[in-house]
């Protein structure tokens, strides 16, 4: 199912294409009296005008002029009008103008140089990036008032064009417009989440202008904001066909040609230095089996490299060469993938870099609109029957393990023939299995001595591995205790196995003493049999328009045996529960299997990945019932 069909049509009725009279002065324009009561239904700041005008000059140059005006009604919203503008070698910010208008639309003052600050904006994980930010602030103390910003961004070499979102915050929008101007001879490539919404076309001199407009968009609630905006408002993507970036020329109009451009950046970068070639030859020699050879070459890369983010060259697109990575032992995702492809090539295995949309909801990727929607690079090794995927930035994962952030995602595989878009496979719930076995002895005081053995696989294992593999003994203990969240618990001993890179399964054995696990009165003690997996979160009761995304399918099985003192007998037990829903299945039960011995079994299977909004009610009910079951208690009463 494509994105477009999921967009709720209901919002379309709010959109009226209008031909707004030009020349209205700001005095009239930002007067609060002119505001439609529709927008004032809830107390909130209001976006008065959000206009983006994008002009394509040629294959290299473009210009974006943005007008953003917001009326602020209370002091708590003042800082929400702060403007942060990122720029780099290819995008420069010019002419930031701004002004404060009072409630009548009279100008209070204009922006001055002191209102703009300039910062380095390198991400925390990055060693080098060419990104800086300008932060613009304007405040007033008589409410309501309006802040208007007008700024110009110049593109000198591009690949990414702006994405327009009619309503980009929860605030209601009075008027929003996106205009794109292209040379008369060109036609604009665009995608709108609402199929039926076509741009208005006009001509100005030798230019063609595409226009989208919206007005009177009501405030979005907090729960609506938590959903993907693409299901709540108009989103327009535009993308170049032929483009120039740095010294390169490419064509984005198809995945195939986009891939061709990326391939050209990697040409000649697969040369391995002699010692690397010798190492690969040795592996080839002793490992005739191709599958085993791939694993060995992958481990070779894992053992010699680490991930260091350095965004340089062709706007961060050009990978460092295989020699560079081999000699230094580090690189970013593109460089490490390129090195892996080079190693595999020397090993006689054909492999390709694959640009991927990592960690973003899979449903947001627009497959029928070739454009840069990627943020990561992995390696694709075509094999029979299943293609193998290698994530090269993680030295600790098994060969071929994709990981929750890469699975089910759109990836552009870059071959000699250009780019080819495919979806990476998804794991099944049993691939991500989590089993907890426990033997728990309760004493008269309510103290529990628990022996727990947990086995985790797939993405569940990967999460445990990420927390524990590199952690110090102190941190490991701390994490294990924090993860259990049992007040009064002491970890007496623990054992870990299968944390190493080529293991698909990790086992954690824990010997715990939990003070006051069972609490009670003179006659009774109570305890929650759901000691390990317990859910407490019930999704809110709201109307949902976008799918509920799960990171991956999974299956939890808990089987815990409780022994209690002979001075007690069982008075009450949680009801047996068995649920089935579009989300998955759940069951739980407590049985007396012997004198003073109970067996608690819990089984939760989540089969959904992106659950359609129509099922939201069932999803909510399902987890409400799970929460209810998990918090149920066993009641023991004195004989």
């Amino acid at each position: 199912m494509s994105i477009v069909s999921r967009v709720c049509v209901a919002s379309c009725c709010l959109i009226i294409l209008l031909s707004r009279g030009r020349g209205a002065s700001n005095e009239q324009r930002y007067s609060v009296e002119r505001l439609s009561p529709k927008l004032m239904a809830e107390p909130s700041s209001i976006v008065r005008n959000f206009t983006e005008h994008f002009t394509v000059v040629d294959h290299k140059k473009a210009e974006l002029v943005v007008t953003l005006a917001t009326t602020v009604f209370k002091s708590g919203d003042r800082e929400k009008t702060d403007l942060i503008l990122y720029y780099n070698r290819f995008i420069t910010i010019e002419n930031i103008e701004g002004a404060i208008y009072d409630s009548k639309g009279q100008k209070v003052r204009s922006l001055s140089g002191e209102d703009i600050q300039d910062y380095s904006a390198i991400s925390d994980y990055s060693l080098f990036e060419d990104t800086r930010a300008k932060v613009v602030t304007l405040y007033h103390d008589v409410y309501p008032y309006t802040i208007e910003y007008v700024y110009r961004e110049k593109f000198d070499g591009y690949l990414n064009w702006p994405v327009w979102t009619a309503q980009s915050s929860e605030y209601p929008v009075e008027y929003s417009k996106f205009e794109v101007e292209v040379p008369q001879t060109d036609s604009l490539r665009y995608w709108c989440n609402i199929d039926t919404l076509l741009p208005a076309m006009s001509k100005s001199r030798d230019r063609k202008v595409y226009r989208w407009e919206a007005q009177l968009l009501p405030k979005l609630s907090k729960s609506e904001m938590e959903e993907d905006l693409v299901h709540r408002t108009i989103v327009v993507r535009i993308a170049p066909g032929v483009f120039e970036l740095d010294r390169t020329t490419g064509d984005l109009s198809s995945w195939q040609s986009f891939g061709q451009w990326y391939r050209q950046l990697t040409i000649g970068k697969d040369v391995l230095p002699p010692d690397a070639r010798r190492a690969v030859e040795e592996i080839n020699h002793v490992t005739p089996n191709i599958q085993a050879r791939i694993t060995k070459l992958y481990k070779y890369l894992q053992s010699r490299t680490r991930y260091v983010s350095i965004q340089l060259g062709i706007g961060g697109w050009e990978p460092f060469s295989a020699t560079y990575v081999h000699e230094r032992g580090y690189g970013d995702c593109k460089a490490l993938s390129n090195y892996m492809v080079a190693l595999l090539k020397a090993g006689g295995v054909e492999a390709y870099p694959a640009l991927i949309s990592h960690a973003t909801p899979a449903s947001l990727f627009v497959e029928n609109f070739p454009s840069n929607q990627f943020n990561h690079c992995i390696v694709c090794v075509p094999m029979h029957p299943d293609t193998l995927w290698l994530e090269c930035t993680d030295p600790y994962r098994p060969a071929g393990f994709l990981g929750g952030d890469n699975e089910g995602r759109a990836a552009m595989v870059v071959t000699s023939g250009g780019g080819q878009l495919i979806r990476t496979p998804c794991t099944s719930s049993d691939d991500n299995l989590q089993i907890h076995h426990g033997n728990i002895v309760l004493d008269d005081a309510g103290t529990a001595k628990a022996l727990l053995v947990s086995t985790v696989e797939g993405n569940e294992r990967d999460d445990v591995r990420a927390h524990l593999l590199l952690a110090t003994p102190e941190k490991r203990q701390q994490w294990l205790l924090d993860d259990l969240q049992l007040p009064g618990a002491d970890l007496i001993t623990y054992r870990l196995s299968g944390l190493e890179a080529d293991s698909m399964r990790t086992t954690i054995g824990m010997d715990l003493s939990i003070d006051r696990y069972a609490s009670g009165s003179a006659e009774r003690i109570f305890f929650q049999p759901a000691m390990v997996e317990r859910r407490t979160y019930v999704p809110p009761d709201v109307v949902r328009r976008s799918p509920v995304n799960f990171p991956y399918r999974y299956h939890d099985v808990d089987s815990l045996v409780y022994h209690f003192p002979p001075s007690y007998k069982c008075e009450a037990m949680p009801k047996e529960v068995s649920l089935s829903s579009p989300v998955g299945t759940f069951s739980s039960s407590v049985r007396e299997i012997d004198a003073n011995t109970l067996l608690y079994v819990r089984d939760l299977r989540v089969n959904a990945i992106a659950l359609a909004p129509a099922y939201y009610g069932e999803y909510r009910k399902f987890f409400a019932d799970v929460v209810k079951s998990d918090k149920s208690k066993v009641v023991l009463v004195r004989n």
Binding site: S75, G76, E79, P473, K633
Partner: protein, 671 residues
Amino acid sequence: MSSFRLLPIIILLLFFSILIPLHVFCQAPAAEWGNVPMSDLTMSSFPNDTNATAVVLFDIGETHMNDELDLEFTRFTRIKILKDAGFSWGTQSAILYTKDNYQQISDIEGATYTLGGDGKILKNEIDDKAIFEEKLDDYRTKFKFTLPKLSAGCVIEYKFKIRSTSWNFIEDWTFQHNEPVLWSEYTVRIPPQIHYDGVTRGYEKFFVNEVTDAPQSFHGDASAYVHANPVRCNQYHWVIKDAPALRSEPYVTSIQDYASKAELQLSAYIDRQSGVPVKVLKDWESVVNELLISPRFGRRVEVSGDVRRTADAAMNHVVPQLDKVKSIYDYVRRTIVWNGTNGLTVYQTPDEVLKTKKGSIADITFLLLSMLNAADIPCYPVVLSTRDNGQIQLVYPIVNQFNYVIAGVTLNGAEIYLDATDPHRPYDVLPFKVIGTQGLIVRQGPVQWATMATKKKYVQSTTAAVSLSAEGKIEGTVDGLADGYAAVNSRDDLDSKSRNEIAEKIFSTKGSGLTIDSTLIEGEESSESPLKFHSRVVGEDYAQSSAGLLYVNPLVVNRWLRTPFATPVRKYPVDMGYGSVISTSIVLTLPKGYQLRELPRDQMITFPNNALSYTQSITPEGNTIHLTARFEVNESEFSPRLYSRVRDFYSQMISAQNIQLVLEQASKKPK
């Protein structure tokens, strides 16, 4: 001066003090570039600290003056990386004050050593491409470099040189890091015409801690300045051996307060041109006096026409002095946005702040002072170091220790301290970041310090009236009152969270099985009065029913579901900043025909000196159950020695709160 009770031992070294020659058996490591002993490479674990992911083998720093009389600092560090988790040591950075070339970095070298399969040592050096510059702002640049070919077991070493044209930019030295350090050494050699005061602090014992004199030859102009050639320079020399790792824990004020350090401050020098002695570092009195005459600081208290008009309008003819203070404070906190900048530097005049309606802490405080002056209210700046910036070293009278300035007001013989950076904080509640810090009062007369004490607590009291159905559904009303820090925290949330979310937070109902349906908040406008909450709550299946019995936890609000102290041991004190009082009163109406089968015991959990206490009691009354509970934190700091008791207190309290009432139908009561 209560907050100084944990201050590490401080040793002040004075110049020209009696020099005691130390006969050190030099066990210094052979710190020769490129000469890595095989034993360092074969070392595979560090038994003294099994949590170590890397060990600093040596970290050697040296500062001296060169022939241009610039400060020249070199650092040479060698690190054993034991585990992959120690790779972060492979990326190093230094922040330099680069405006007008005040500081320059050069001679960056770095190498990674690994053991080859043939038992030979392989060396990989960094190249220029692996050195990056990031311009942080107009003044500072961050230099970063990363070492190649890291692997568990490798040894890295790096060195670099920093030249500073200003004598103020002398490098301090930190002997302890978050991994063990086997040898940390710092030497500072300065000609006698220039004086620095050195202070050491921390808990680790110094292996070498001496001031000696050492000859140095100068050439060019410098030789005229130092007179003799070679000249006997003053030389500081500090070594700490086998320093343990310093690792942070939750609720620690600033882990840097516990690190062993050497700090230097220019105290006096002979002027190069005039030959006149200049005194830089004197005593706190001169620090105060210099601040008072500084055009960027003390002079800012002058009153302009705009300031006077604004102050008059804000006060609106109120007469009592306290009301004047409150009106001015309220005007500033509500009107001016703090831009997050700390420090004593003033960027704008009060008039400009009134126009731009934003500013640094100093901008805001000087506007406040200026307006108070306009109202003829006695006031003064108070400079301090915020909690995360570390404690003030009293023996070290320099202004750089301070990073924050607030206003002090004398009213009826009492002092009030005002920080106007938060629009929601009443005048008598200090922000968490300054609580317990020492403030230096910037005023004529004898030097005065003041502790930024707070009597305010986190105060919350709640009354709930809920009824339970035979099906286990609970619903009713919850009325709460938040005062002190509880009110400030909730008010800060008003702009970003929904009413129900704020109520959920204040009543701790998240995960309890209760949903907040609606919330009305009273007292949003005046932040001096408590904030009042009126919520409707509902919990489907709140109680568990089984065989005609209902099991229910009557503590529907103010229940701790998680312990903040999961780890069994702790090295540094728990510092909560302020105390708390949370009281709860609940009336639970039972379903028709139900009664309590068994009355739970009253709970009283205590702690020495009543530092913590929790009481809980339940009384049946007709078809209702009355529950009262009270949680108090009366001290804000707990030493590591008391940690296990604190942890146990919370665990006992959580257990007591996890109470279950057993309800039965009246007719079915067994004999």
